[in-house]
């Protein structure tokens, strides 16, 4: 299949692995930011092809995993209301809240529907004017433009029964949080290609400069990942810091201007708690005050939810690259995809799910 097979070629993979082996002279710890990249690494078996000097740790770039528990509990509270059609990307449906998940709400009679696009949720609102349609706006900068578009169209078309519950998060503040941690061991980053497709990589230049690290914008196919790893290793071995772009077929320095403008028109930056990590300043997006009518948090009184997180789950340490899923004593025993203690075990971008499904047991 064109545009896919080229990036999954065994011959190219072998060449890149050999080049990485030749270039590595000492131990390095690298982090891939995005959960989609984590899954490619584990699914294609890349982690097992790398020289032992390289340690790849998995980053916080799983939007489902970092969505704070209180926001999930708010989603559950809204989804359980009889007048509501609650719409969400499929990923969020099995993420555990304090007491249950969205599929549980559905089983109890809640009208929970999976959509592929927030614009489909808007269509539902137009089709069912007697119901309240709420979309769970989760994701990094990648999904923000489409979610912004849904709100903007709702405003333009005066759709009064549509709102979004925003749990948007931003990548650069999370990288700074990791680099600033006393426990940090990450020496180079593979930045998330799709986030940079929207935002460009200008934002990462001051981070690379301040912390003297290489940041390589990387794609999602196996060859992209191997190429990104090679570029990062090469930068580290040569003592280079700065931003480099492996994913040039999709990413430019300034990103997608229209998408960025739309995000800025609909959202504003806010402090946001990250599940398992804590509040990171200026790391989230919420609706601008003039669009408050489309804010589900205001429309339904769900500001006060009481949450209770599993004491056994180490998702926070995993999301910061301090531990791997296989380091967790609950992994595969008390915590499985059928009975998850934390979100990384059920999200399709979660590191624990990748380790579990593709057999990286302790």
């Amino acid at each position: 299949m064109k545009y896919v097979d080229e990036y999954r070629s065994q011959a190219d993979a072998r060449r890149l692995v050999a080049a990485i082996r030749r270039r590595v002279t000492r131990a390095w710890t690298l982090m891939e930011i995005c959960g989609g990249q984590t899954h490619t690494i584990i699914k294609a078996g890349i982690d097992r092809m790398l020289p032992e000097e390289l340690t790849v740790v998995h980053g916080p770039g799983c939007p489902v995993c970092v969505t704070p528990l209180e926001q999930i509990d708010r989603a559950l509270a809204i989804a359980g209301r009889p007048e509501v059609i609650f719409t969400s990307f499929g990923d969020m449906l099995r993420v555990p809240g304090t007491d249950e998940d969205l599929l549980g709400i559905k089983a109890h009679g809640g009208d929970v529907r999976m959509v592929y696009s927030p614009l489909d949720a808007l269509k539902l609102a137009i089709k069912h004017p007697d119901r309240e349609v709420v979309f769970f706006a989760v994701g990094f900068e990648t999904t923000a433009p489409a979610n912004a578009m849904a709100v903007w169209r709702a405003k333009q078309q005066a759709v009064s029964n549509f709102s979004v519950l925003s749990a948007h998060v931003l990548v650069p503040p999370a990288m700074e949080e990791i680099l600033g941690s006393a426990h940090n061991r990450v020496q180079g980053f593979l930045a998330a290609g799709h986030v940079c497709t929207v935002m460009g990589y200008r934002q990462y230049e001051p981070i690379a400069e301040k912390w003297q690290v290489p940041i390589v914008v990387t794609g999602f196919e196996p060859i992209d990942l191997l190429h990104g790893l090679l570029m990062t290793v090469d930068a580290l071995e040569s003592g280079r810091s700065g931003v480099e772009n492996q994913y040039s077929r999709s990413v430019s320095r300034d990103g997608n201007r229209h998408a960025r403008e739309l995000i800025a028109r609909v959202f504003e930056v806010c402090d946001r708690p990250w599940r398992g990590i804590g509040v990171i300043p200026a790391s989230g997006l919420r609706l601008r005050p003039e669009l408050a009518a489309f804010d589900a948090e205001r429309r339904f009184d769900v500001s006060h939810v009481s949450t209770r997180e599993s004491e056994l789950c180490i998702a926070g340490e995993i999301l910061q690259g301090l531990k791997r899923p296989s380091d967790c004593s609950q992994f595969g025993t008390a915590c499985t995809p059928e009975r998850p203690l934390g979100a990384p075990m059920v999200s399709s971008e979660g590191a624990c799910a990748a380790y579990y499904h593709y057999g990286r047991q302790a």
């Binding site: 070629s9 078996g45 939007p63 089983a107 995809p337």
Partner: protein, 356 residues
Amino acid sequence: MSSDGREKLSSGAHCPIPISEYPTVTLAHGGGGRMTQMLIERFFLRSFDNPQLELLHDGAIVDVETLRLAFSTDSFVISPLFFPGGDIGSLAIHGTINDLARCGAKPLALSAGFILEEGFEMAKLWRITQSMRAAAQQVGVPVITGDTKVVDRGKGDGVFINTTGIGLVAEGVSISPRAARPGDVVLVNGSIGEHGIAVMSVREGLEFETALESDSAPLHDLVSEVIRAVGGELRVLRDPTRGGLASALNEIAAQAGVGIRLDETSIPVKDEVRGACEILGLDPLYVANEGKCLLIVARSAAERALETMRAHPHGREAAVIGQIVDEHPGKVFLRSRIGGTRVVDMLSGEQLPRIC
């Protein structure tokens, strides 16, 4: 409910799934993966406990004096009712015919039970029954008994159909999911994932254009030709329906206590299916099939089985996709396209598309 939070069953036994885990049925219990397996093992196997059922095969064999009868049942609750390449009617016939074929049996007769929802259009019901008639005629197996019930509007999804079939097992045939042995070879009769993607392409809220059609087809004829060609060297037959190829192979690995190794590049997947899966964030290994059959045969018979299938209209793209090994019993491993290896796990719940 008893004081310890577990539901009491009428026999007095405790409900085997703690109420805190699953107080109600979720859709994931019907996904064909681990949750379905858990439901079957903890509820139905414990309730109906017998050696036939414990085999967890697609059908059961009943010995009647000198005859060996295969017996199988299946219920169809698909949405939408009509999809590219078929509808609930043809599917209901093919499904049970294929379950009988999986026992190595020649189908003899079928029953059909209909649960209709008040308000369902007669014209649609007629289309469905005509489609069943055509499918049954094509395989030469009559529907000889049936049942009809109507439920209140809102208590069904248009129409649910159950079909049950009996068939005659050919002499000398002994097919069982436990019969796989190290050294055996895994084959599939064609490209995977078409049914699941075709149905998804017309599902409300997900409509996308594709030239794909469901692969729904009766496979009894293909299977009987393979049996003729390789006889007792055919060890296992399995339907990779719900839960897809990955879940079916995991079941075999667990039941036979063997390991299975697959080669990703040799598994036939049409570009249309790969493309749709890439966009939707699904893995073709877990997408449902309706006209596909997994075969495990002795290595010495692999070539004959492959040639026989390729000569049949339903097996033109048949391929050897892996082998049975004595390492890692109960697990399925896959050699990835780029040369890495990974475990292929059973589906847990349903495949949920990813965010980005």
